[in-house]
Symmetry: C2
Subunit: 301 residues, 2 copies
């Protein structure tokens, strides 16, 4: 099957709303290539390009892509096959009022460092960092409220999660007819936490395939990621503590369903294997995941 | 050199105080075997043993072990060589008023599940979990305040950090003459987060070696862990957000010192590699670490 190519010229969104209209509609099973611009849309091309404030429109998400037959209650599986960098340099920046250490002594904002691509690595001054691309913003039309592409929530959005990378599959609840997938805000590399507020922001093209699960075995409320060796629940909230609670509750739900554990048994077991991981601590809501090794969860969906 | 064996009968502490007195004093370079009781000191031997409240004395830490010549400003390196389980079963429990999901619907407290040791695994009901021991509580005499062994802080204490395991080295700031190392509260296995409030709590014997760094290259304020492939700063605070800030600031300090980066450059770089990890979210202070791959930090001390 040939790949459908979807580009930012076809359409981008800066807000995930319940009433998104598709720029393209595909069938379950479709293979796509989605092109994305960098999160700052070319505004930062050298160390002299400094951003005084977070742009009003940021994290342009290419889409929305409708999926035929997708209805609320279904799950959309997005298998990320490959992420290719499509510009010669990324950039990592501080912006005043944004980032984990904003306002701390010695932390200057705005500041920009360019991170040129050099083969399989990017360079940060004299250091090389292996290219390990991440899709920062990816989601579907939410249930009720609207969320700008700076915000992560149950629909996905600005999850800034290193596990959203090639080889892994991200499962989203379908809240609206057609699902309405959109993505952007990729990084050539990013630390868990995204402490300064960005990774190495860069344009990409993403090969992915979509599959609609019309009758999932569980009532998925939030994104779920399948890696080579784990299932990871993903939750965003006002505080890391609240996000940890949501991610752990979701993981417990999966464990209880598979093993015929009661909720407390699943909670006790969750305290022995895998565990809580930090996605990002800088967006308007923060994001945490709870990893459960595949040895203990076969196929929860 | 023969190993000095130190047992709970020699002495345990339930509080890390500035004025600890050693039960044994060893030289830098000493190899020790330290025996530890389980954190609940045998109170839970079956699923019928339920704990209504957190015991007033918990996490008995074998020690304190004095180190000759250790003075404030030095660093004590504790290389964990091997952790052997010394009882036939561990236990994982809930206690009312304790744990990430305490009070949530469906979460019963008190509850106990026994986790018998079966070769290289423990069993949780029908499931097997590979034995992967963790030292839950390990620390030195603090600078000024006293901390019970339920609390983690800059002196170490109840860090509940999965990286404090065989093969890794933990570096502690020396705040008092003799350092006064003590440890206990081991687990046969534990998830990052320790969500229900315990791992598989179990008695152990720990082989370790001590080395005193009398003139460290940095002013170490909090514990630092060296794993096979990363240096990890460790920080405890009231909230996960605060702990993330401390751990990231410490990581930035190490990066800035090694690479002649200014603080902001180190911050930007920290947002590209390794990243923030959760140790535990259940103790009176919570604990986070910031991993920096060794490719970018040779030997910060």
């Amino acid at each position: 099957m040939s790949r459908t190519v979807i580009t930012p010229e076809d359409g981008v969104v800066y807000e995930f709303t319940p009433d998104l209209e598709p720029i393209e509609t595909v069938e379950s099973g479709a293979s796509l290539t989605v092109e994305t611009v960098d999160s700052l849309e070319g505004a930062v091309q050298s160390e002299d390009d400094l951003l005084a404030t977070v742009p009003e429109e940021v994290n342009a998400a290419t889409g929305p892509i409708g999926v035929e037959g997708a209805e609320p209650g279904a799950v959309l599986a997005v298998e990320v096959e490959e992420i290719r960098l499509t510009e010669a340099t990324g950039r990592v920046i501080t912006i005043e009022g944004f980032g984990l250490l904003d306002g701390h002594e010695g932390i200057d904002a705005p500041r920009t460092e360019m991170t040129p691509v050099d083969g399989e690595a990017i360079r940060f001054r004299d250091l090389e960092v292996p290219v390990s691309p991440v899709i920062g913003t990816i989601g579907v039309a939410p249930a009720e409220d609207a969320y700008t592409t700076l915000v992560p929530h149950d629909h996905g959005g600005n999850l800034d999660t290193t596990d959203i990378t090639a080889g892994n599959t991200v499962y989203f609840p379908v809240f609206q007819d057609g699902a309405m997938l959109a993505m952007g805000d990729c990084k050539a590399a990013m630390a868990d936490g995204e402490m300064c507020g960005t990774g190495s922001e860069i344009a990409t093209e993403i090969d992915l395939s979509l599959e609609l699960l019309e009758e999932p075995a569980i009532d998925l409320e939030r994104p779920l990621i399948e890696t080579a060796d784990a299932w990871k629940t993903v939750a965003s909230a006002e505080t890391l503590e609240e996000a940890c609670e949501l991610a752990n509750r979701d993981a417990i739900g999966l464990l209880a369903a598979e093993h015929d554990f009661d909720t407390t048994q699943a909670y006790l077991f969750s305290s022995l294997v895998g565990g809580l991981e930090i996605s990002q601590v800088v967006d308007p809501l923060v994001t945490v995941r709870n990893a459960v090794p595949k040895a203990y969860l076969s196929s929860p969906l």
